[in-house]
């Protein structure tokens, strides 16, 4: 590791092993009385067990079964989220958008990794990756394809017909999802 820029980049002074870097910074702050190790445990526990995508899923499900709730969520998500006891850090100002037959929404932060923590928890590694940051805005459909998602507006009639099963036409089945493996 280069050691020629200590003043501007104190990270070069830390141990090379990341776990030891965390330990060094935690020790310094704890010895100064500025960090409570029990508070770190509480933060980790909160995001590991309490705040995660199940919260967002509960809101989506409620919007599916309750038109009034859905309209409120789309018009002023922050009020609705606060009323349900959610919201807070990294989700202070939320706009909810919905997909439709002609609109598919996809979220990316190309500059850092902004993400609605109170609704979805801590973002997955790929959301924070250079490849996702770089490509999601320029070639979203190629990125979606890597996730197994093909949007119907990019499909021709033959591809659409391949989604329609016999059972879906009888009514004892549903069409295949675009991009799903057959």
């Amino acid at each position: 590791m280069p050691h020629d820029h200590h003043d501007d980049n104190p990270h070069s002074l830390l141990p090379s092993e990341p776990a030891l870097r965390v330990k060094a910074l935690e020790t310094i702050l704890a010895e100064k009385g500025l960090v409570d190790p029990a508070a770190l445990d509480a933060i980790i526990d909160l995001y590991a067990h309490e705040i995660g995508p199940q919260i967002g899923a509960s809101l989506v499900a409620k919007a599916w079964v309750d038109d009034g709730f859905r309209a409120g969520l789309l018009a002023d998500a922050n009020t609705v989220i606060t009323q349900l006891g959610h919201g807070g850090r990294q989700g202070e100002h939320v706009v909810v958008v919905e997909n439709s037959p002609d609109t598919h929404n996809m979220v990316v932060c190309t500059l850092c990794s902004c993400y609605p923590w109170p609704l979805l928890g801590i973002p997955p590694g790929w959301y924070k990756s250079d490849a996702y940051h770089a490509r999601a805005v320029r070639e979203p459909r190629a990125v979606l394809a890597e996730f197994g998602v093909t949007l119907a507006d990019g499909m021709d009639e033959a591809a659409l017909a391949a989604l329609v099963t016999r059972d879906s036409m009888i009514g004892t089945g549903l069409p295949r999802a675009p991009g799903a493996s057959t």
């Binding site: 820029h5 200590h6 501007d8 980049n9 104190p10 990270h11 002074l13 776990a19 030891l20 870097r21 965390v22 330990k23 910074l25 020790t27 310094i28 702050l29 010895e31 100064k32 009385g33 500025l34 960090v35 409570d36 029990a38 508070a39 770190l40 445990d41 509480a42 933060i43 980790i44 590991a48 919201g87 807070g88 850090r89 989700g91 202070e92 100002h93 706009v95 990316v108 190309t110 500059l111 850092c112 990794s113 928890g121 801590i122 590694g125 790929w126 990756s129 250079d130 490849a131 996702y132 770089a134 490509r135 805005v137 320029r138 070639e139 979203p140 459909r141 190629a142 990125v143 990019g154």
Partner: protein, 227 residues
């Protein structure tokens, strides 16, 4: 392009990396500790979220590219601790501190009992403003031609380089919000109106993947001029 973090639209990154088990919140134990430590240190109030983002953006490009996501957080945290006078370079090198911090700082220590209420309240950026918004929904606007901080060379900005100098349409108005370009440098919150602007893919990219697609960005009023 101002700094290495501003990578939207960049070529050459290859497939988006996936993990075998994406249900795990923290892939490695120290990731969780790095996140928690960063959150707890932020609660001391010696910097704001814009400054901490800028701290990571200012890492040397070679380090930024080499370090993993949470390693960048640790590097940014070490930088903020030294720059804001909480720890010395000697303490960082030793991994120890010989003495407690002053009382006015230790009293801000985030204790375990305060974690849930502190995270629940977060740090809203909306501010009241008497200034009328300059643009209406549906207005055609154009972004500033250079995606750089207007007052600080190499400073923080939230206008991505790929969207500089491009025409777009106002689709939402969010009221006034803290202006990161000033706040990141401790030059005050300088709140100004924030908008969601829609850009046609064909106005952003020479070879748009699908001309009908759009990219929507939240941008502050001073990034925009009437089209």
């Amino acid at each position: 392009m101002t700094r290495i973090h501003d990578m939207g639209g960049r070529f050459g990154d290859g497939p988006v990396p996936r993990e075998a088990d994406e249900t795990r919140v923290f892939a490695i134990g120290w990731h969780a500790r790095a996140l928690a430590l960063t959150v707890a240190a932020g609660a001391l109030g010696k910097w704001n979220i814009d400054a901490s983002r800028h701290g990571r953006e200012r890492l040397p490009p070679a380090d930024y590219a080499r370090l993993s996501y949470y390693e960048k957080w640790l590097a940014g945290l070490a930088k903020m601790l030294v720059e804001r006078g909480i720890a010395t370079a000697e303490e960082i090198a030793a991994g120890r501190s010989p003495a407690p911090a002053p009382d006015d700082l230790t009293e801000k220590c985030l204790v375990a009992a305060r974690v849930v209420p502190a995270l629940r309240s977060g740090g809203p950026s909306a501010r009241s403003s008497t200034a009328a918004p300059a643009f209406a929904i549906g207005s055609r606007v154009r972004t500033r031609p250079i995606a750089e901080n207007e007052t600080v060379a190499g400073g923080h900005t939230r206008l991505p380089a790929y969207a500089a100098g491009r025409p777009g349409t106002v689709v939402l108005r969010h009221g006034a919000h803290v202006f990161p370009d000033r706040n990141a440098h401790f030059h005050g919150e300088a709140p100004r109106h924030l908008y969601t602007i829609s850009f046609a893919a064909s106005d952003l990219w020479q070879h748009a993947e699908s001309a009908g697609d759009e990219v929507r960005l939240d941008l502050w009023e001073s990034y925009l001029v009437p089209e």
